[in-house]
């Protein structure tokens, strides 16, 4: 009898020792139904891929893939992330070109193309767009024959909401990357005589407006997963590093960095990481790529992969760049960081997409 009691006690002790303790389950990863992108040229998947731009084999601000494979070849970071999430290749929600001439006689062929909206496409980012204000960079209002629509990010978001009954479903991954054109616009204004402090204040205002847009027009409208990328390091781009005069180069670099860091700091302050917001530090990532190219298998971080004087690319921007208008063979420039003076090559985009996906992994979103 005593032995039975002993065994019973032992068994109970074992059961108590062994049971339970598993803790609560970890949440399953979100299953995204769509990717929605707002921003500028860095996220533009073909807003201007019509008319002249399409005719010369351009369309995105990078080394464009050949027309025959463009629909299946990712060259922009938002395309890489969308495909990695098992979603479709993104398409531009709006296309068109407008040089402001109204197609009057003498207008370069193919630079006035009516604006067309594609409600099933979620790539709202447009090259040249600023956060709130027009004119964006490349817009007709700035003169110089610009034809970019540059719909501001705040308006891009409104376009999405209009096309989707005023709300997000909550199962979208939303990417927001803007501000670089506000920096370029204010830098030009400072160059034209605007006090530097006013320029800095203007980009800080833009950052606050972007943070507010994300909070009130994206998250408050139902989005649960918003990736917000700050402005990459502009001072390290060929736009600045290729300036021949060392004094001017240093001054420009200083000004750009002041504006970029002012915007980024304000954005982070107004829109910290939260359950719905993942801040991705494009600034630090791009700075490290330029400083340590070997770590990223980059072969060149100072020159442009595109020949910006190529007769095949009259736009003198990566928007019109493809394999026919490179500064070398595609193999040679394959791991260049920059396609033109500010935009990454497809490999540069791939590196950034990798960084974004890694950040999403750390967040539990991927």
């Amino acid at each position: 009898m005593h032995q039975f009691k002993f065994v019973s006690v032992l068994l109970m002790a074992m059961i108590l020792a062994g049971c339970g303790g598993g803790g609560s389950d970890v949440p399953a990863k979100p299953r995204f139904a769509a990717q929605v992108s707002f921003g500028d040229s860095l996220s533009d998947v073909g807003s201007y891929n019509v008319g002249l731009v399409n005719a010369i084999g351009g369309g995105q601000f990078t080394i464009n893939a050949a027309s025959s494979v463009k629909a299946t070849t990712p060259t922009n970071w938002t395309e890489y992330t969308s495909l990695s999430l098992g979603l479709d290749m993104p398409c531009a929600a709006e296309t068109g070109l407008d040089n402001g001439s109204g197609a009057a006689p003498g207008t370069p062929a193919g630079t006035v193309i009516p604006v067309t909206d594609y409600p099933l496409c979620n790539g709202y980012a447009q090259g040249g767009s600023r956060v709130t204000a027009q004119p964006g960079i490349g817009n007709k209002l700035l003169g110089g024959g610009g034809f970019a629509l540059t719909v501001p990010v705040v308006t891009q978001i409104q376009h999405f909401l209009t096309a989707h009954s005023g709300s997000f479903n909550g199962d979208e991954i939303v990417t927001v990357m803007a501000g670089a054109n506000d920096v370029l616009f204010q830098a030009a204004s400072i160059g034209g005589g605007l006090p530097a402090a006013s320029g800095v204040a203007a980009v800080q205002t833009a950052a606050s407006e972007l943070a507010n847009d994300v909070k009130t027009q994206i998250i408050a409208k139902g989005a649960k997963y918003v990736v917000v990328a700050n402005i990459p390091d502009i001072a390290g781009t060929p736009y600045v590093t290729s300036i021949a005069d060392p004094t001017v180069r240093a001054q420009t670099a200083g000004l750009m960095d002041t504006l970029v860091t002012a915007f980024n700091a304000q954005l982070k302050a107004d829109l910290p990481d939260s359950a719905n917001v993942l801040n991705v530090d494009a600034y630090s990532a791009s700075k490290d790529e330029v400083a340590n190219p070997a770590k990223y298998n980059l072969t060149d971080v100072t020159h442009t992969a595109c020949d910006l004087a190529s007769p095949y690319n009259p736009l003198a921007s990566s928007l019109g760049c493809n394999a026919n208008s490179l500064s070398g063979t595609l193999a040679a420039v394959d791991h260049y960081l920059f396609a033109d003076t500010v935009h990454p090559t497809p490999y540069g985009h791939l590196l950034f997409a990798t960084y974004v996906l890694q950040s999403m992994t750390n967040k539990g979103w991927y």
Partner: protein, 400 residues
């Protein structure tokens, strides 16, 4: 003599390091610890105590052995796991392959009521490997977990009816995970190792001369594997670590000598797989570089077996078991496409002499088809697995 024993021990340990592999119990536990038990589908494991492998199943059972005994076994485990997409397209080939898992046990009588035992075995193991260019290469190419367990034990015979026993478990784990992350990173290979301590104990109670009940517990063991991730992007390479808690288990077994010819036995075992929540790999900065939710559940395994004694030299065994898988359908991954399984086992023993025995056991595991629905990293894996496991075990036992 000691030198010989040491040599045997290190040989087994070396073999374990090289060869332990595919999981045949649910999850990635390896119940394949004896060929004698294999014939009965490991029914009665904690009560049968008929050779030195009781060091693993229930150290209290060592009290039933006298003198010295060594038992060495090897198990050729051949799992098969073939993926077919929902559209009916197979991919990846057979993720399973034959692995040989050895184990060795030694028991010696120190005093009439005290036994010392030593086990060298692999209580956990896993290997799945797909064709490197298969549809799910972004989610898994190779997954490997090896363990080597050194298990010194003591048993004490309290009285004629009751024995108790316990042991320490010094366990080494090594793991390897690879997948093709595409793009800039290419194939990522993550490797890590760790060592940790656990313990186990048990009791064996003789209800009467023909009937005994055993209970045994093995503790969970917590590891922090340290290692490296290697990719084609130097930026992504560096030190990594992974926390993992391998589960505890608890078994109650019964054995009854029905007649001179027939023995029957049964077992219920619980394994605490709910400790296995996720595979989360962090880099040196503490950032998570890979995270797969697992959310496994505790499992129960039930088994029944019978042994027929043909004569003093020959006996035959059979067993049946049902083994729950810990993997919830919603969290099944390509790395461990597990599902509930039914065991059908046969075996036998031949005793060439009074001091030696050769055991052979074979089992086939009928595993339910396993669904998978993992959208990311894309391309998605949506389909099902056709799974089975065959295991052939042989054992040599020598008393001296």
């Amino acid at each position: 003599m000691m030198f010989k024993q040491t040599m045997v021990g290190w040989s087994v340990a070396g073999a374990l390091l090289v060869m332990s592999g595919s999981a045949a119990a649910s999850g990635f536990a390896l119940i394949e610890q004896s060929a004698s038990g294999m014939g009965n589908a490991f029914a009665g494991g904690a009560a049968i105590a008929d050779d030195a492998s009781t060091v693993f199943f229930n150290p209290a059972g060592m009290s039933r052995l006298s003198g010295k005994q060594i038992a060495i076994a090897a198990h050729a485990i051949t799992p098969s796991a073939k993926y077919t997409s929902a559209a009916g397209v197979p991919s990846g080939g057979d993720a399973g392959s034959t692995a040989v898992v050895p184990n060795g046990y030694f028991v010696m009588e120190m005093k009439p009521d005290l036994r010392f035992g030593l086990g060298l075995n692999a209580p956990f193991g896993l290997q799945t490997e797909y064709d490197s260019n298969w549809a799910g290469k972004q989610q898994a190419i190779k997954s490997r977990i090896d363990t080597v367990n050194v298990n010194p034990s003591l048993s004490y015979q309290v009285n004629d009816a009751l024995s108790i026993g316990g042991g320490l478990d010094y366990q080494h784990i090594s793991g390897e995970l690879s997948q093709d992350q595409g793009g800039a990173i290419g194939t990522a290979v993550i490797k890590g190792t760790d060592n940790a301590w656990g313990y186990n104990f048990g009791a064996l109670y003789n209800v009467d001369a023909a009937t005994r009940i055993g209970a045994a517990y093995r503790s969970a063991i917590s590891y922090t594997l340290s290692g490296t991730v290697t990719t084609s992007l130097p930026f992504a390479n560096g030190p990594v670590s992974l926390d993992i808690k391998l589960p505890g288990s608890f078994s109650i077994s019964g054995f009854h000598q029905y007649s001179d010819k027939w023995d029957v036995m049964a077992d219920v075992s619980w394994t605490g797989w709910s400790t296995f929540k996720q595979v989360k790999i962090v880099d040196a900065s503490g950032a998570t570089i890979s995270n797969t939710p697992e959310n496994w559940k505790d499992t129960v395994r039930v088994s029944l077996g019978a042994t027929y004694h043909y004569n003093r030299q020959w006996l035959a065994r059979a067993g049946l078991a049902y083994d729950q898988a810990p993997v919830p359908d919603a969290f099944r991954t390509a790395r461990i496409p597990d599902n509930n399984r039914t065991w059908l086992a046969f075996g036998g023993q031949y005793k060439p002499s009074a001091a030696s025995a050769i055991d052979v056991g074979y089992s086939h595991l009928f595993v339910n088809d396993a669904s998978i629905n993992q959208p990311t990293p894309a391309p998605a894996l949506v389909g099902s697995y056709n799974i089975s496991v065959n295991t052939l075990s042989v054992q040599y036992t020598y008393s001296f």
